[in-house]
């Protein structure tokens, strides 16, 4: 790794992207060559799923690349757009009434842009309290003026929850890009990439472990697959990957290991909570044919990140005493 460390920051990042896109291209080529062969129906469904996942990874990688090329402000904007799409999906599947119209407008067109403006301005103290304090109080006020007492608490809580996850949680990812860490200037993109990789790996490892172990689910009514042991394996995999990749982070190996476990573990727990939410809304996927509206399933993909990012962000700040 010594030779790598001597490169300039942008060279290192460039190399990282070359490796990433090379890997993706290889996987895509292999996947494509395999579609030329004929297979059964069951295989076809699996392959369609894989194709969707692969496309999502491509889209995600392109997003990171664009974010890096264009700089902090543009990537903040990109995450803002993702937030918008995720919140749109969330609100679609929750039950709101006419009286919530103004609160929803507030959430989409005032709170969301403001939060990202605050992030872009690196105003981290305000950024941390803006939604949990000010918006938390503002939304019910606006909703109350909607003049509809029916299921008031439930409706308000749902909107607040959506904002917390889709806007507040997500906005911590670009905040990492802009964080001024000691000896780590202009390398925030690495930290975000590290976080995304670690969270994704935790998900995959947990999925594989679930299939292999066939443990009793911890909460059957919510998820038939989630078990504590599989979760532990996911977090462990995240920790190992995080530790191995310590050289792209500002951490030393052991803290990188712990940070990986924290990020991966909270991400998969977030996924679990989202499952409960989906059960409540009566759908299995946010996207796909089963849902009312044919959402693209973005929320499914970003939910773990929305949960992991704030936990990780504050762990980093706490670790460096920022």
């Amino acid at each position: 790794m010594g030779a790598l460390r001597e490169l300039t920051v942008s060279q290192q990042i460039g190399l990282l992207f070359v490796a990433l896109f090379g890997l993706l291209t290889a996987v895509t080529v292999v996947a494509f060559s395999r579609t030329l062969r004929d297979r059964g129906d069951e295989d076809l469904a699996k392959r369609a799923q894989f194709k969707r996942d692969l496309r999502a990874v491509w889209a995600g990688s392109m997003l990171f690349w664009v974010a890096w090329v264009a700089g902090g402000i543009v990537s903040t904007l990109l995450f803002g757009v993702m937030s918008f799409l995720a919140l749109r999906e969330f609100v679609t599947l929750t039950h709101t009434r006419r009286g919530d119209h103004r609160s929803l407008l507030l959430a989409f067109f005032v709170v969301l842009p403001l939060q990202y403006v605050i992030v872009a301005g690196r105003n981290f103290n305000l950024f941390t309290v803006f939604i949990p304090v000010y918006v938390f109080l503002a939304i019910p006020v606006v909703s109350a003026f909607g003049n509809d007492p029916q299921r008031f608490l439930e409706r308000t809580a749902k909107i607040q929850w959506g904002i917390m996850v889709c806007v507040y949680g997500m906005s911590h990812a670009p905040a990492l890009l802009l964080l001024d860490l000691p000896d780590y200037r202009a390398r925030g993109a690495f930290l975000v990439l590290w976080l995304v990789l670690v969270v994704a790996l935790a998900q995959i490892a947990q999925e594989v472990a679930t299939r292999r172990l066939r443990r009793r689910p911890a909460a059957r009514a919510i998820s038939r697959s989630f078990s504590w042991r599989a979760w532990g394996i996911g977090a462990l995999a995240a920790a190992l990957a995080g530790g191995l990749l310590y050289w792209i982070t500002p951490f030393k190996p052991i803290p990188a290991l712990l940070m990986g476990a924290v990020a991966g573990g909270s991400g998969t727990l977030g996924e679990f909570v989202m499952k409960a939410l989906k059960r409540d809304a009566g759908v299995r996927n946010w996207g796909g044919k089963l849902s009312v509206t044919g959402a693209v399933g973005l929320l499914d993909r970003v939910a773990p990140l929305c949960f992991a990012a704030p936990v990780f962000f504050h762990s980093v700040r706490w670790y460096f005493n920022l």
């Binding site: 918008f84 749109r88 999906e89 609100v91 679609t92 407008l105 044919k289 509206t293 044919g294």
Partner: protein, 213 residues
């Protein structure tokens, strides 16, 4: 690209950003055949949503119906309906005004018939007005008369889902909520079918699309 085309793309883009405007084609592929799409009507947004859900080449040949008095009342409204959407204007009432003049003898369906004779596709809302119940109101007779006069034109039932949440009556700014437009299998008027029976059948075909997604 001309200005109306650009405005059209912009409007479709906004509709997609806010609602997703997902089109599901169940039972009829998105082909450039002459068609009458008939849909439930809940919001001013309905037409834009259907239009945004259509593929680009179908947009050019698919026309909405616009009430002449409202949509020609200002320059902007007139320009949008005429240049961007290529709307078919109809007069809302057959009754004469106080002086006995007006669109008296003209059949209100005549502009639609003419558009169909020219080979255009139409989008109509047979309820006649925006409803706010869960179920669409009973259909008006216009659909029946068009089906009778143009048996070769496909009648496509269309269900617009969720749009009442985007912009409830009385609100101006739309909330971003995903909507979908489902196009069903074509309906045909059976020989000698009673008007009421046909209209109820058409309404049932639209409602049935709510269940399949």
């Amino acid at each position: 690209m001309t200005l109306p085309e650009a405005a059209g793309l912009l409007l479709a883009g906004i509709a997609r950003l806010i609602t997703g405007a997902q089109g599901h084609w169940l039972g009829s592929p998105p082909k450039a055949e002459q068609r009458i799409y008939f849909a439930n009507h809940q919001s001013h947004f309905d037409w834009v949503l259907i239009w945004a859900a259509l593929p680009g080449d179908l947009r050019a040949i698919t026309r909405p119906i616009a009430a002449r008095d409202y949509w020609t009342s200002s320059k902007l409204k007139h320009w949008i309906t005429r240049e961007v959407f290529n709307a078919v204007y109809v007069s809302r009432t057959r009754t004469k005004d106080a002086f006995g003049v007006g669109a008296d003898d003209e059949d209100p369906l005549e502009p639609l018939m003419e558009a169909l004779r020219n080979g255009d596709s139409l989008v109509i809302f047979p309820e006649g007005t925006r409803g706010h119940q869960a179920e669409p109101a009973p259909f008006k007779a216009g659909l029946y008369r068009l089906a009778e006069a143009f048996p070769e034109v496909q009648l496509i039932p269309t269900w617009i889902d969720n749009v009442q949440r985007v912009m409830p009556k009385g609100e101006v700014v739309p909330v971003p909520i995903l909507c979908s437009v489902t196009f069903g299998a074509p309906l045909t008027l059976a020989p000698g079918e009673d008007k009421r029976v046909f209209l109820d059948r058409a309404r049932a075909a639209v409602i049935a699309l709510r269940e399949v997604h």
